[in-house]
């Protein structure tokens, strides 16, 4: 490895900024959380491609404060692939019938710009727990 550049005080903050995604994940404290439903039905309907598109969008946009996670089947197998977008202290929003392109749009519009893509939304809010 080539000799690294000697750091200055202000360079520490730059490294910290670059590593923001790492601390977000380890502290489990993101601004938003996107869950891709990856049950057998989801994967069969193309959830993997949806996930790939989502991660690609995150890397392309250099987003460091969004947590991506997976979950099992949400019970509505015929509307898969599905994804849930959640902001802190706000009800979750469920998207259905996703494709990689739709996922990219949801990410840019909803997660980055805060505008829900109503065309693809199934419902807002959580299911009732007993």
């Amino acid at each position: 490895m080539a000799a690294k550049k000697k750091l200055r005080v202000q360079d520490l903050a730059k490294i910290r900024e670059k590593a923001k995604a790492l601390t977000t994940i380890r502290e489990s404290e993101g601004r938003a959380k996107v869950t891709v439903h990856m049950g057998t039905c989801g994967i069969a309907a193309g959830a993997r491609e949806v996930m790939d598109a989502l991660l690609d969008e995150i890397r392309k946009n250099n987003v460091t404060d969004v947590i991506v996670t997976t979950s099992g089947c949400a019970g509505l197998c015929n509307r898969e692939p599905m994804a849930t977008v959640e902001f802190k202290d706000q009800p979750p929003v469920k998207y259905v019938d996703l494709t990689p392109e739709k996922m990219r749009k949801v990410f840019v519009e909803h997660v980055l710009l805060g505008r829900m893509v109503t065309d693809y939304v199934l419902a807002v809010g959580s299911e009732t727990m007993y």
Partner: protein, 605 residues
């Protein structure tokens, strides 16, 4: 830095490594590759997570799921269920002993819930071999602040105001030590990090060095600025290969980034550190002996004063602090002395790391606020005594410390309370003992260690520890006398008064503290020739209880000396004359039909 949606943090402290965490990591990486998740999921190794009892341990983020007791065979399940389908695997989670429900998240587990992390803040959170991860979690921020914004006096004032006291055992105020060294004229000045952790059952320093070596380096640079030193030595014993390796990597990375060496961070301040590998003598932990060892001489203590701050390494002013003390320093500078002093008691501030070992359910490494009660540590965090046995005593402070009995369980853990109770903070080893532990045997064990480790300079220590051990040995063999016990006490006090260094001065503590709280056990050995705990082999005999014996022959097969007689389905008997009291028969018996009898006086021939 590449973006991954999930991070798998595999614990690679010495405990987990010996239970197979490197193999586990390999298996994880392989399975992740097979599932084509290598661009989405990152696997890294961290330092000791603390819950060594449950290793190997893997944390999955961002979910914060805690998996324990993992085997490579469990890997496919975790990868498919959790990482691919998002269903955390319940059966690999921690289940509390008295409960049936698994606890998915680390922060909800009793063992972790009551801890307060300052020094160990990065344990199980960063890869100690990656400097960028340390910097990501505010690493080297305090150093930047100290070097560019603070004067030596301001740094010392801040440390002094925090109330930080030496974590190596004696508890001398760190700020005052630094100030004394700063005021002394003399050049060059040196810094030393004391990582010669030698107490049996203690592994605090090792874990800090393994989990967060950069924190120690950062603390040392701040200390160097405070006293005006340009060179530091990190003394680590060679029995700590992983700690040595990670510290060597840390030093190399810090130099590459210009965080060690000339003109650190462009502030004009120079400091460099190097590792000195110790040969592993207990006495090397004594500061003057350690300095002799760094200089290349035999590790033998010398008279103090002059203290190291006046005449230390090569006769130059030197500050020597323990690993944990150095690792605490950056946190105080970064977050302020008020924040630090907000935790703890009047005289003992902040947190202290303890290694929790012996007869305790949750063996491991814990960091707790000063002033917490022993009960909270042993029963709250430690989960109590295995098999619901009775708590008898806890040995604190290593061979120089002492035993604290059950009646003092509510004692707060701080420097003064522990010393008053006859133990000491020491570096932080806690050895928990149950009712099957013989206190005379414990005293003998520590004395054996000390007579071996005494450097031999002072007669009182060299001969004293040997003679005390002989008397203790005689007592455990049923050959003790009342005059021997009196001599033991006399020797103990003489050793304490007449020895020069900390080793000799505290060598009698195992005897004095056990005598203070468990004198009746010594007397039972001497007067009744019996060992109440059933440990001392000369004072017990194994017998078969006829009403419980089924004649299964398991004990007969286990006996290495062929001294159990009896045919199938008949009650067996042990031929006492040939019995070597190894206890193998008792372990082999499934019907609790073999008992170590100790209630009656046994004639010693």
């Amino acid at each position: 830095m590449k973006h991954y949606r999930a991070h798998l943090l595999v614990c690679a402290g010495t405990g987990c490594v010996s239970s197979g965490s490197f193999k586990l990591k390999e298996a994880l990486e392989k399975e992740i590759k097979t599932r084509k998740l290598e661009d989405e999921v990152l696997v890294i190794t961290t330092g000791c997570n603390g819950f060594c009892e449950r290793g190997p341990i893997v944390m999955v983020h961002p979910d914060g799921i805690f998996y324990q007791l993992l085997k490579p065979a469990d890997v496919p399940l975790i990868v498919e269920e959790h990482l691919l389908k998002g269903r955390p695997v319940k059966k690999l989670m921690y289940v509390p002993p008295e409960d049936k429900t698994p606890i998915p998240k680390m922060k909800d587990i009793e063992f972790f819930k009551h801890q307060r992390l300052i020094v160990l803040r990065n344990r199980g959170r960063i890869d100690p071999e990656k400097i960028d991860e340390y910097i990501a979690f505010d690493g080297y921020e305090a150093m930047g602040k100290a070097l560019s914004l603070m004067t030596s006096e301001e740094i010392i004032k801040e440390i002094d105001a925090s109330g930080l006291r030496g974590r190596g055992g004696a508890g001398f105020p760190t700020g005052r030590k630094w100030d004394a060294c700063r005021r002394v004229k003399g050049s060059p000045k040196y810094l030393i990090c004391n990582g010669d952790e030698g107490d049996p059952g203690a592994f605090m320093d090792r874990s800090v060095l393994e989990a967060d070596p950069h924190a120690v380096l950062e603390g040392m640079v701040i200390g160097a600025k405070a006293i005006g030193a340009a060179k530091g030595y990190i003394y680590i014993r060679h029995e700590y290969p992983l700690a040595l390796q990670r510290m060597a990597i840390a030093i190399k990375q810090a130099r590459e980034y210009g965080l060690l060496g000339k003109d650190i961070l462009g502030t004009g301040f120079d400091f460099d550190a190097e590792i000195v590998e110790g040969a592993g003598a207990f006495v090397s932990g004594e500061e003057t002996a350690l300095m002799a060892s760094v200089e290349g001489r035999v590790a033998m203590p010398r008279q103090r004063p002059p203290y190291p701050a006046q005449k230390g390494l090569w006769g130059k002013p030197t500050v020597i602090n323990n690993v944990e003390t150095w690792a605490t320093v950056p946190n105080i500078i970064r977050r302020g002395s008020d924040w630090f002093a907000g935790l703890g008691t009047k005289t003992s501030k902040g947190t202290k790391i303890f290694s929790l070992v012996g007869k305790i359910n949750n063996t491991g490494l814990v960091e707790v606020p000063m002033g917490i009660s022993l009960r909270d540590v042993i029963y709250g965090i430690g989960g109590g005594i295995p098999q619901n046995r009775e708590f008898k005593a806890v040995q604190i402070g290593g061979p120089s410390g002492g035993c604290i009995p059950a009646k003092l369980l509510d004692l707060p853990v701080d420097y003064e309370s522990l010393t008053e109770a006859g133990a000491m903070m020491g570096s932080g080893g806690m050895i928990v003992m149950d009712d099957k532990t013989c206190m005379v045997d414990v005293a003998k064990y520590f004395m054996n260690f000390l007579r071996d480790e005494s450097c031999g300079k002072c007669v009182s220590c060299r001969e004293g520890t040997q003679r005390m051990w002989e008397i203790l040995r005689d007592i455990t063999e049923g050959k003790g006398t009342e005059s021997g016990l009196r001599l033991l006490e006399e020797l103990a006090l003489a050793c304490k008064d007449a020895s020069m260094c900390g080793l000799g001065q505290t060598a009698a503590n195992p005897v004095l503290s056990t005598l203070r709280y468990f004198r009746h056990e010594f007397e039972a050995h001497i007067l009744d020739k019996r060992c109440p705990a059933g440990v001392c082999k000369s004072l017990i005999r194994y017998v078969v209880l006829p009403e419980k014996c089924t004649g299964c022959q398991a004990c007969k097969k286990a006996c290495p000396n062929d001294c159990i007689k009896g045919t199938l389905k008949d009650v067996h008997t042990i031929v006492q004359a040939n019995c070597i009291k190894c206890g193998a028969c008792q372990e082999a018996c499934r019907f609790e039909a073999i008992e170590a009898q100790r209630d009656e006086a046994i004639q010693i021939i």
